[in-house]
Symmetry: C2
Subunit: 214 residues, 2 copies
DNA sequence: ACGTGTGAACCGATTCACAGCA
DNA sequence: TGCTGTGAATCGGTTCACACGT
């Protein structure tokens, strides 16, 4: 995955690439073979120039005067993101939200497989939700190391989030998708992405009030 | 809510203000009365300067040489975001994810109240989850207009998301928190915020591979 | 002619540096 | 002195404009 230049790649570029990929999958289903930057961005709130610029960080892939081969581009983007092979993930915290996430079909579509769920509630341990079995948190380390798991979804209550996150990092986890409404403080080289519904709603409220104010 | 200048306020500033608010609530619980920009940002991955700059868009609120009164600042930020009074929201799509969101306690903490849930499944209509009753989608308009609801959480399957979103806008909804993995195309003045778990995981995978590569 | 790829120009957000108040 | 508030400088990302390949 050779970066072309020493130029730093914006995080937003990566996020958009994930978006392009989702869109391309749909276009492929609809039997598109070749598409242009204008076609793919038409329904994405992204300009064609932005799309081409995003791709340019990773080297040429389209044909001037023609466009992009859909298959080719999908594979290219999957390689960039590192999801061209199966990514094993674990889920910690099998409450209401955690259970819902276990059933979320979107993950498998993109080569993510939840290999285990973990909780400290004896009631839940041993059960199987969807196709995923729930284990005791004390078994996390074994799992993470045996299956070379890099990513964890954290869906525990806010009180235990920091503690569990530290434990995950100690077990070797490199990326955390955090659903707990708290800022995790971790020193190790871990990447954390927060998904915070309440914060999103507050942001939305602000902008809605702006719309209504004119 | 007088904006001080004609300067456009960055969206990230608004998102961070929501973050500050969450943090301040916690500090208040811990009996802090006065805090400085350094104290509040210490655990937030935000610099004190950034914090002060963010606040500066909305006029002075702290005391030089002293800091900020926690109570005062909380109220100030709530007013900025428009959540100083109760915000009524609805939820559409009572599947696994929708049900989990109904039970999410974080909303109420910030003055959001889900006044109704909607689904097209006759099995679900009439039931009460948590304290929220599930209604037929055909009753949405009545609700939205009667309760002056501005915000909707969209948790329907991806196939119906665009259709339902259009319906919501037609009913007068001004902001949508969209959990369906699709880019909604809406022309009216509506604000859409997307929460897409698969996209987040892909982004995370990219950065984790970067960490491991050095 | 058409559409990609990309350096350059532009624009907006963050960081810096400091004036001013308690 | 300590900390806020903010113009100015810097930095990074997006947009523009166009050279090049088909």
């Amino acid at each position: 995955m050779a970066k072309k230049k020493q130029v730093r790649i914006p995080q937003e570029t990566i996020r958009r690439i994930a978006l392009y990929l989702r869109s391309l999958r749909k276009l492929k289903e609809l039997k598109f073979n070749i598409i242009s930057s204008g076609q793919i961005t038409a329904y994405l709130n992204v300009s064609p120039e932005q799309f081409r610029k995003d791709l340019s960080y990773f080297g040429p892939v389209g044909k001037p005067g023609v466009g992009y081969r859909v298959d080719n581009l999908i594979h290219h983007l999957e390689r960039i993101l590192g999801i061209d092979r199966e990514c094993r993930i674990i889920l910690v915290g099998v409450g209401k939200l955690g259970s819902a996430l276990l059933a979320y079909p979107g993950f498998l579509n993109f080569n993510f497989r939840i290999v285990g769920a973990f909780d400290s509630d004896k009631e839940k341990i041993g059960k199987t939700l969807g196709k995923v079995r729930v284990y005791d948190v004390s078994e996390m380390k074994k799992f993470i190391q045996h299956d070379r798991v890099q990513l964890a979804i954290l869906a525990v209550p806010v009180e235990s989030a920091q503690h569990v996150a530290e434990k995950l990092v100690a077990c070797g986890i490199k990326g955390i998708l955090n659903f707990a409404p708290v800022n995790l403080n971790l020193t190790q080289p871990v990447r954390v992405l927060n998904v915070d519904m309440a914060t999103e709603l507050m942001t939305l409220t602000y902008f809605v009030n702006r719309i209504l104010a004119g």
